[in-house]
């Protein structure tokens, strides 16, 4: 825990430092380090969370990183404590999804490097992992929300390469979402709770998605520059 909090402080500070440097504020690094020490003592997570930072691609990538951390942690738990009656087919599918989400998480972590937000602490206390219906319901919520989040944030990405990678991930999330929906109700892979009357998947803003994600996070994620503070 301590290590992850310290990592978190380092990560946030690096993002802040590069932002400040970029903004040409010329703050002495000694001052920033002092601030870091201060934050460490008082726990950065005083307010219980972190912020994805200044507007820009790093913020959007950190937003995606936060969501992938949440999804990965969820499926790790699903496989660690399988619901009663989980078939071998179901276990294989959930294992694949877990592995995809873990790789998405690791990809963003590697791509962001020192600009990455910290490892988030999850809170799945509202999910009964022993019950199939509860796990499928939560999985559907995570996947549907993930698809809507990527679709809704795509236009905010300024770099064509990052946009394409977001596209590479969101279609895999949509494949997951369709599978999970069909496991709940056969044939509901594109039902009107997720797809509108034009045949378009619904999309959601950062300010709509993060409050949902935060219900499963001890480390609350804010996006103050995108109109949402936890």
């Amino acid at each position: 825990m301590k290590t992850s909090e310290q990592e978190s402080i380092g990560g946030v500070n690096m993002a802040r430092r590069s932002f400040l440097r970029y903004a040409g504020l010329g703050v002495a690094s000694a001052g920033l380090l002092a601030t870091a020490a201060c934050h460490k003592d008082h726990k950065v997570i005083v307010s219980g969370g972190i912020d994805i930072g200044a507007k820009g691609d790093l913020a959007i990538l950190n937003y995606a990183y936060a969501l992938e951390q949440l999804e990965a942690a969820f499926y790790i738990q699903v496989i660690t404590t399988p619901y009663s009656g989980m078939t071998s087919d179901e276990k294989a599918l959930f294992t694949s999804i877990r592995d995809h989400e873990v790789l998405h998480r690791e990809f963003f972590k590697a791509a962001l490097g020192g600009n990455a937000i910290p490892a988030l602490t999850v809170d799945f206390s509202t999910i009964d992992f022993t019950k199939k219906s509860a796990v499928l319901g939560a999985a559907k919520a995570f996947e549907d929300t993930g698809v809507k989040a990527y679709d809704g944030a795509g236009y905010l990405i300024q770099d064509a390469g990052y946009l394409t990678i977001a596209g590479k991930i969101v279609s895999v999330e949509a494949r997951h979402a369709a599978l999970i929906s069909n496991m709940l109700v056969a044939g509901s892979f594109a039902a009107d709770d997720q797809v509108d009357s034009n045949g378009l998947n619904k999309s959601a803003t950062i300010a709509e998605v993060l409050p949902i994600a935060n219900t499963y996070l001890k480390t609350k994620v804010s996006a103050t520059n995108y109109s949402y503070t936890a």
């Binding site: 279609s171 895999v172 369709a178 892979f189």
Partner: protein, 281 residues
């Protein structure tokens, strides 16, 4: 050598060339105007370079061009499912709700894109002709009989859906920052991926594309290998994702790495996969 005859010949095969590339025609006129200074041997080289620019890394298509391209793909899919749904005895009861949902979505995409094109100041293209056997108009292609053979029908459906996902993904950079159109395109893209997943479930293959190091296609239908070529990529941005840790160790398998990321196709790649087989004039 008559450059204009060559251009005319190309236009016979690619009617869009003239529309898309009028500026290039002017450029060619410029070349001939100082042609006396250009050695005859250098002319084919100049032509090659010009065509490479025209077909390769040319100027990005406009929003209307992207939408008309999308509309063409949606015409293909909607016509395919409309024909399938109207083929008596093709679709078993268990698959009817799946196919109807997909069919309705594709028809909605056609209507939506027409509206979006008009709203963007463009004119929607008309539908080309389709040969769903991939016979280029002969009706005698490798998928002959698909409207009386459900499994064959699903295999073609899957190739269309997975290719559609790749096609929309490939256009995202051409819509960079366009809140309305990019968001709409990504939203159709996600629905195509939902369809692809569902059709895969009907066929009994994994809902995601699990490639090997050398073969992108995991459907077992070798005729569509080209539609999946590139799905075996494991390098995302600067990162070879097989070098990243997984739950089971310090690296990630090719199977997971390829399944976790879907790959795009360019407009030229998609048209090359469809024109002359599924699409003909």
């Amino acid at each position: 050598m008559n450059l204009f005859n060559i251009i005319d010949e190309i236009e016979k095969f690619d009617p869009e060339l003239n529309d898309r590339l009028n500026p290039r025609r002017a450029a060619i006129k410029n070349i001939t105007s100082f042609g006396s200074k250009v050695a005859l041997a250098a002319v084919p080289f100049a032509m090659g370079a010009m065509l490479k620019r025209a077909y390769g890394a040319a100027a990005a298509p406009t929003v209307v061009e992207v939408l008309n391209y999308a509309l063409t793909l949606e015409y293909l899919e909607s016509s395919f499912y409309n024909t399938g749904a109207a083929s008596a005895g093709l679709i078993p009861a268990a698959g009817a709700s799946y196919i109807n949902t997909v069919k309705d979505d594709e028809n909605q995409h056609v209507a939506f894109l027409k509206t979006a094109i008009t709203a963007s100041g463009g004119t929607p293209v008309t539908s080309p002709k389709f040969d769903f056997t991939a016979g280029g108009g002969t009706g005698n292609g490798p998928f002959k009989g698909l409207f009386s053979n459900y499994t064959l029908f699903l295999k073609v459906a899957l190739a269309f859906e997975d290719t559609g996902v790749r096609a929309y993904k490939g256009q995202a950079p051409n819509l960079l920052g366009n809140k309305d159109i990019l968001t709409a395109a990504l939203s159709i893209h996600a629905v195509e991926a939902r369809h692809a997943s569902a059709i895969r479930q009907l066929l009994g293959v994994s809902p995601w594309i699990t490639s090997t190091a050398t073969l992108g296609n995991d459907t077992g239908v070798s005729q569509v290998n080209g539609n999946y070529d590139g799905e075996q990529n494991v390098t995302q941005g600067p990162v070879n994702v097989t070098t990243l840790p997984s739950v089971s160790g310090s690296t990630t398998s090719v199977a997971i790495a390829t399944a976790a990321f879907d790959e795009p196709l360019s407009m030229d790649q998609v048209l090359a996969l469809l024109v002359g087989t599924f699409i003909y004039t």
